[in-house]
Symmetry: C2
Subunit: 96 residues, 2 copies
Amino acid sequence: MSADLASCRTKIDAIDKELLRLMNERQRITLDVVRAKRETGLPVLDQGREEALLSKLAQINPGPLSQEGIRRIWLAIMAESRIYQALSAAPMEEHR
Amino acid sequence: MSADLASCRTKIDAIDKELLRLMNERQRITLDVVRAKRETGLPVLDQGREEALLSKLAQINPGPLSQEGIRRIWLAIMAESRIYQALSAAPMEEHR
């Protein structure tokens, strides 16, 4: 492997480690969102908020990631939040 | 909106901004990977590397994101890299 390639992979590995940390933190916060919504009687799923979030990301995106690419990646991230929220719902109800 | 919910959304917005920055940086580096591979005659697509990367992420994942969730999100991220590499291929050839 060339020194350039090895250097690129080291950089990507470091970025991925940080992405992983941030995405796990994001996932934890989505449970707090569910709790806060239940306390105020708001519906858990808010497609308007998801669309607003995607529009905001598109606006501040400096590139080179495309707007469509950001949309595809964040839909994947938000899908995991929904799965996590659904899986966490049962034990949360029991604690009431 | 409750203060808790507003606070959660502020945190998520800050995380998303940082995720966006890192993913764009990652995308830029994937072009350097293509250049380095061309210089050494290596094939651009390396599924072994992608699988190794996914295994490593699964190993260091602290949760609560599931291993399957990480896989789904990173497949989306790596798909965007491939699209970007393919779109960038033509102009890079012309500069030779």
